[in-house]
């Protein structure tokens, strides 16, 4: 596993873990999911097959989002929202003094980089959105795909089952990825976020409704103003949770107002398209940035 030297930074009181390598224009990667999920406890390590390749060309950052990976939980109950996750990401860029960044975000992280681009265009050079049903118009299929997990929630086998369901090729679900997920899962702060989201009901009464409202606001902004920054969508043709039809719908919405809008589809790739074909994915990002 190449991502072995984590760095830490305080972002408005939130201890935040990230990885950094390479030199050149900054490229910041945001992974998917959210804090307190009882399905998968992902972290920035999910980029480990892409990170070194991208670092040949760029100064690459992979961030543990608010409450995920090894980054602290939100400080207040009212920050168990995607808006707080976006603010934390913005705070991270500010804390590191990063401007003119290329953003790439997967799944919920794709929503995040879209919001960052809409809210703070002055610091964004380009935006890459990967397999994001959180952002695309329509309904994500997660509840259907993940119904009936035969293993205990957040167990190693339970997470393996979830990641494999997301994937076209189950071989991308490696032991090092599961090791990391289990390490995150074992953190008291992660257990706490699961308790808050599930037992205290923050997921159902705050996180999801707020995200729904924000998603509508996001679409209104894309439709009214456009992205105002070069934007590409990268999609796995076989994504079971964010089907390609959602990718078309999002592309149509973005292309209506953004000149530099591209859709890039990789075959034999599920939700984690960047892990399924790391080389092709990296070249897709590199070519996009080089063309600007």
């Amino acid at each position: 596993m190449p991502m072995t030297n984590p760095k830490w930074i305080d972002v408005d009181g939130v201890k935040t873990r990230y990885f950094e390598a390479g030199s050149g224009e900054p490229l910041v990667l945001f992974f998917g999911g959210n804090f307190g999920s009882d399905e998968a406890s992902n972290s920035a390590i999910v980029w480990n097959w892409n990170f070194d390749g991208l670092a040949q060309w760029y100064r690459v950052f992979a961030v543990d989002k608010l409450g995920q990976g090894f980054t602290d939980n939100p400080k207040r109950d009212e920050d168990y929202t995607m808006a707080a996750v976006v603010n934390h990401a913005h705070g991270f860029l500010r804390a590191l003094g990063l401007r003119h960044v290329h953003l790439a975000g997967h799944s919920r992280g794709g929503y995040l980089v879209c919001r960052l681009t809409l809210e703070h265009p002055e610091i964004v050079k380009s935006c890459t959105i990967i397999d994001s049903a959180t952002l695309a118009p329509g309904v994500e299929r997660n509840e259907i795909v993940f119904a009936g997990n035969p293993h205990p929630l957040l167990s190693r086998e339970g997470q393996r089952w979830v990641y494999e369901r997301y994937s076209y090729n189950p071989k991308i679900v490696t032991e090092d990825w599961l090791d990391e997920s289990m390490a995150v899962c074992a953190l008291p702060k992660y257990r706490e976020s699961v308790r808050k989201m599930k037992e205290e009901g923050l997921n159902g009464r705050m996180f999801l409704p707020q995200l729904q409202r924000q998603k509508r606001d996001t679409h209104a902004r894309i439709n009214e103003l456009g992205m105002r920054r070069p934007t590409q969508l990268v999609w796995g043709f076989n994504d079971p949770t964010a089907p390609i039809s959602m990718g078309y719908a999002l592309y149509r919405m973005i292309a209506a107002h953004e000149r530099q809008a591209y859709l890039r589809v990789l075959n034999e790739a599920g939700h984690y398209s960047f892990r399924e074909h790391p080389k092709a994915f990296n070249e897709t990002v590199h070519g996009f940035i080089q063309s600007l």
């Binding site: 592309y251 292309a255 890039r264 092709a280 070519g287 063309s291």
Partner: protein, 295 residues
């Protein structure tokens, strides 16, 4: 920008004098432009790649061929060769003659069908296949007959050809004097007029070319449906193509991806039929990244 004169070459392929451009080193990329011989609305040639050739030649061994009966290449020798599949055979003979292997084929429009056929029939010499805005290859009907109907001026006049490129386009900046100059040179060749005579007046288009093409398309669909492409396949589309609509691109790549393991689809916004001319920077990077990602 015109094609570099120093890269222009000639070769005899089974009695057909064939013009091509060649430059650069590295993996071989062969560019195949669109259209067909005997078309009265545009006399295109390999010069249509002049927006991309030099950039690609700084990274690859690039070949841009004038297809059988188009550009400065001789017409088919026999009436029964006024078929797209005769042009494909000519292309294969050309590659054999040059002894090229592991070729990355890149074809636009009718040239997209040409490279798809070459890949299906001769996978042993092909490294990958890139098909651009090709309603010839895609399921469904293109809109050429509507969009390009009733051009102004005389057939193959400068006015007529400029109008035709404009109808194909999203934006007009790429319809340069250099491009039209190159087309007018082709239009002035007696063999160009002779091909129009064959296709239009002698009706080889409706009696031979189009029925033969339709038969070939059905074979390609069966191939894609049952076996997929035998080599990695890349499809690039201009989102605003007036003649080969985006929906046809989606239909082609969705069909292709069913059974072709390594396949990609790339859509470029604010680009009409000649996506590589309208948006050369992203087009070149898509092609470069596609080939680099296969290595």
């Amino acid at each position: 920008m015109a094609m570099p004169a120093a890269s222009e070459k000639w070769i005899d392929i089974n009695g057909v004098k064939t013009r091509y451009f060649e430059k650069g080193s590295g993996p071989t990329v062969m560019l195949v432009f669109g259209g067909n011989f005997g078309a009265p609305d545009a006399a295109s040639s390999a010069a249509v790649w002049d927006t991309n050739f030099e950039w690609l030649a700084s990274r690859f061994h690039v070949i841009a061929i004038d297809k059988l009966g188009q550009g400065h290449t001789d017409n088919p020798l026999r009436d029964e060769d006024y078929r797209i599949h005769a042009a494909v055979d000519h292309g294969y003979a050309f590659l054999e003659r040059l002894g090229l292997r592991n070729v990355h084929l890149v074809g636009h429009s009718r040239g997209g069908y040409y490279v798809t056929r070459l890949t299906l029939e001769h996978p042993e010499i092909v490294a990958s296949c890139t098909c651009i805005d090709s309603n010839t290859t895609a399921p469904g009907r293109g809109l050429n007959e509507i969009v390009l109907a009733n051009p102004p001026g005389e057939p193959l006049s400068r006015e007529c050809q400029k109008w035709t490129y404009e109808k194909y386009a999203y934006s007009y900046h790429h319809i340069t004097a250099d491009l039209l100059d190159a087309n007018m040179k082709v239009a002035a060749l007696p063999k160009t007029r002779a091909a129009i005579e064959k296709m239009e007046k002698q009706k080889l288009k409706t009696s031979l070319f189009l029925p033969d093409l339709q038969k070939g398309r059905m074979q390609v669909f069966a191939w894609l449906r049952d076996k997929g492409m035998p080599r990695p396949t890349n499809i690039i589309w201009g989102y605003n193509d007036p003649t080969a609509p985006f929906e046809q691109g989606v239909a082609l790549y969705e069909l292709t991806m069913q059974r072709t393991p390594v396949a990609q689809f790339h859509v470029v916004n604010e680009a009409g039929h000649h996506v590589f001319r309208e948006q050369p920077a992203i087009f070149n990077e898509i092609l470069r990244g596609w080939i680099a990602g296969l290595a």
